[in-house]
Symmetry: C2
Subunit: 100 residues, 2 copies
Amino acid sequence: MTPDEARSRLEELRILIDDVDRRVVELLNDRTRVVEEIGRVKRQAALPIYEPKREDQVFANVAQSNQGPMTHEALRGIFERIIDEMRKIQRMRMVSEGEK
Amino acid sequence: MTPDEARSRLEELRILIDDVDRRVVELLNDRTRVVEEIGRVKRQAALPIYEPKREDQVFANVAQSNQGPMTHEALRGIFERIIDEMRKIQRMRMVSEGEK
């Protein structure tokens, strides 16, 4: 493969990555909306926001559906970050709703 | 909302989350396959594996397509982890191909 051929192949592959990433962003926004609704239901029913057992279920679901080539460890690392960022957003929402 | 009503609503919402998560897993595996192909092309053409400029493009693409409610900061945190985990997988592949 010549350097020019490599560069044009890389360009094609990056277009694929960008497309996948945009779909991931859409799903993460869908997920955030559901997480926000969960927060509202919990506040109305005075249920605890943080439930470590539920996190285990999330990791189990993700691991079970993983067909590879991504490793379970990598997936766990990514979902830890997803859960963590969504918890931060939930906390921000609680503060701003408390101020109303 | 009674505690029972809240619990059954939470159950419904968690089914939605699990479904979103399975679709995220599928996309992350698609992304990993493309990243692996990029690694192969780069090795064949002796191009550098790490390109910080390309990472900036990834973050720009993601930020541009973000319609919310997820914040840009949260999204950046998640994609930093995605890129990081995929880089680890690429490194593992390089080691194992070098051993062949």
